[in-house]
Amino acid sequence: MKTEIVVALAGNPNAGKTTIFNELTGSRQHVGNYPGVTVECKEGFRRHAGADLRIVDLPGTYSLTAYSEEELVARNFLIDEKPDVVVDILDASNLERNLYLAVQLIELGVPLVLAFNMSDVARARGYEFDLPKLERFFGAVIVETTGNKGDGMTALLDAAVRVARSGPRADFRAPAVVYGKVIEEEIARIAPLVEKAGLFAGKYDPRWTAIKLLESDRELRKEVLSLEVIDQLEKSAVRIQKMLGEPPETAIAGDRYGFISGACQEAVRSTIEIRHTTSDQIDAVVTHPVFGIPIFLGLMYLVFHLTFTIGAPPMDWIEMFFGWLGGGIGAVWPEGRARLLQSLLVDGIIGGVGGVVVFLPNILLLFLAIAVLEYTGYMARAAFLMDNVMHKIGLHGKSFIPMLIGFGCTVPAILATRTLDNRRDRLTTMLVLPLISCGARLTIYALVIPAFFPQAWQAPMLWIIYVIGILLAVAGAKLLRRTIFKGESVPFVMELPPYRMPTLKAVLIYMWDLGWQYLKKAGTVILGISILLWALSSFPALPESEAARFRAARQEAASARMTGAERVDWIAGIDNEEAKAALLNSYAGRIGKGMEPALEPMGFDWRIGIALIGAFAAKEVFVAQMGIVHAVGEADEESESLREKLRQAYSPLVGFCVMVFCLIAAPCSATVAVTAREGGSWKWGLLQLGGLTSLGYVLTVIVYQVGRFLGIGAG
């Protein structure tokens, strides 16, 4: 006997599958790695009745037609991994639609246990189930559960272990799902041809294959090479269309529902008729023709506020802690020994780790909010409200939330695209998200705008920059949908699940999972890039002769006769000069200088070039680097002395071009890393980096050259 039993949890979205999975496995779970990494299956472990259970949480699906990636992952798991038992979790208060997946599982012939979840809700709605009759109908053990209270879990595990060990009860025979006469005739024509051609022999049953082929299952169809089968399929589709007046896909779905209605009519009784549930009453308010959108915008403001305002103090603490840690190490470090190692530790590693961890409060808070929106059912309403607007730009209603979060920080915004079910929608949103001006870019605008523009022009300038970003994101999304993400438009057929109270456990697990994944997967990449950028700006060190010159200058300052304040200023000036010389001498400085010919058409000099290299680590670094190359020390965006230097060195046109370029080009390394990670391939991260950088370059060159030609802001 096998010691480990593999249990697959299947079920519709919103049927309470995740809650049951959490209930069954507790904290003993991790994200499993299965082919098609973008859709994740979680795994958990549990001991029950002397057996070790490996419980796999399949993606929630409504069907197994390989219509979406989730369906394909779920189906491939069932077929390739052959789990010992499949537990289908059904929302008993919405039985008919939930049984649609169950019927497909029955057709697939897997050992099945049906969990009638939310049975308390179903009972409150007045449903009475004749369970023995239903068990006979569907040929599967049925267990009633209430996931959010943890009821029925032992019975569910008992049933799963029993079915896994001894197969279905002898008196249960899986029912034959019989289709209408016309469809059955066509199945009878196709199945023998499938068998003759040896299609999927040993993998799928010929009848099942025939049904799926008739349903135009894309995954199966592309493997069918037999002309005879293809020919028959064409003929069958035409005949069904002619006889039934509808294509085979819808006819087959209709017949499955017919089968389900038949069973439900006999075994399910509805004792009371409730016209309007609490859920309907909530909907009457939150999707109200007048108040719906203000309520939505208010909630979005709350999410934004929670993420970035409440998140700000912990972010400051984290920054302070890492600053203190770096400073502490600097203080106890033996004077003058192994300076390079000290710099690596303080500026490279601690700075890098700090740069990763600093996002964590944002990410955790954002996902707390998203988990609540998602688990209560409001997310679907948000999509319902915003879909019309988003659809016009070629996106899904659910893309709205990531776009909004993007104004705060692009990294959590990309993680937030997880709520999008369709891969094409998700990738499109991810790729254009950096065009939404994030908080870090605001520091660049805040430095540049007051430096070049009079008071009256400052607010409109900022507005123009934000609008340019939004318009480009819209255009970019449209372009992507017309080019690489072209394809049949995905219907917006979305369930509006009843409102539910989320369990604290589920919300916390959701939050924790994402935070952990961010730290583990994206964090390591971001850390690596930070250290690389540190190395670029630290090596090679200033030659000894140069360093000696600055030492001598400092000594001279120390011995000169002057007041204390003057001395401090003088020494600071020397320090700034040395920092500038060191940066110029480093690889980053050399690359910046080397880039100058390429930057020239945009009106940029090598100093901006060096700062742009820093901006790739994180956008706000641009400001600090500009401070160093202009020898005013580590400046921030409020630095008037740096603004003075900028006014001397550049025209307002160049200032504007810097903002345009920073807005569009080269999303920060964290964004690229997270896009690569969430997109499932480095291809997407690099496409985003390359695409946006080229776009930014071209547009900035146009702006600069046209501006100069017309003489706008060139003075």
Binding site: Y67, Y257, D280, A284, L385, F492
Partner: protein, 250 residues
């Protein structure tokens, strides 16, 4: 002119007509495959059809039907369908067998008899003394053998049915509409879901399949999408998808 066509040439004409309906363009290869004959015999047949000016055909060119050819083909197809429908709907013959018999009979049945045949089939379906139910009873009787005691009750029920139908007709039949034309609060019964690039399947998999009752709950403040209630739960659809669903308003 029709008399000059052999049964086999009629088959060719029918095949060309059907392939054009399905795929727009016809190649000799398609005809050969559909009829299960060799390429040279297709060429031969095409040549004699071209001689009779029913088909525009030149070697290696696209084959098309002349207006006269189209009329002749339509005639053959119609004869086939009338016969097959009669066999299936009235005689309760199994569909594939009906198709085969129709294939063989369509060439020999004279036009006059065919016309009478059609009128008879219509009459049987419409006449209260006959009607669909009567035909169904015939199908059942073919399977089970005779029962006589129900005759009286049957005739009574027929009379009832005639009165019922009269009443219903005076009340005006349920109008059909597209789902997107309904207003919030209106209900409808799904008649069919049109195929729309995979969207049709998704919609019917979510429970909007023929026979299901749907109710428009509300429309998004932006005018789209719409929220419908089906099988006891709420589903959101864009108007372009709702347009694919034909319903009977209730």
């Amino acid at each position: 002119m029709r008399n000059a066509l052999t049964a086999s040439l009629e088959d060719y004409l029918e095949a060309i007509f059907q392939i054009i309906e399905e795929k727009q363009a016809v190649r000799a290869k398609d005809i050969a495959r559909r009829l299960g004959v060799s390429n040279p015999s297709v060429t031969g047949a095409l040549r004699s059809l071209a001689e009779k000016e029913l088909v525009a055909y030149a070697p290696y060119d696209v084959i098309s039907l002349t207006p006269r050819g189209k009329a002749a083909a339509r005639d053959v197809v119609r004869r086939h369908e009338v016969l097959r429908d009669f066999f299936v709907n009235v005689l309760a013959v199994e569909e594939s067998a009906a198709d085969e018999a129709a294939c063989r009979m369509e060439h020999s049945i004279p036009k006059v008899i065919l016309e009478r045949f059609i009128r008879f089939a219509e009459f049987v379906e419409v006449c209260p003394r006959g009607g669909e139910k009567w035909i169904r009873d015939f199908g059942a009787r073919c399977g089970q053998g005779a029962t006589r005691e129900d005759c009286e009750r049957c005739i009574e029920s027929v009379l009832e049915e005639v009165r019922h139908r009269k009443r219903r007709e005076s009340r005006k039949a349920f109008p059909t509409a597209k789902l997107n034309e309904l207003k919030p609060g209106q209900k409808g019964k799904v008649l069919k879901v049109n195929f729309h690039e995979g969207g049709g399947r998704k919609i019917s998999e979510m429970g909007v399949s023929p026979g299901a009752v749907v109710e428009i709950e509300r429309v998004s403040p932006m005018g789209e999408p719409i929220d419908i209630k089906v099988k006891g739960y709420h589903l959101s659809l864009r108007r372009e998808e709702a347009e694919e669903v034909e319903i009977e308003t209730l």
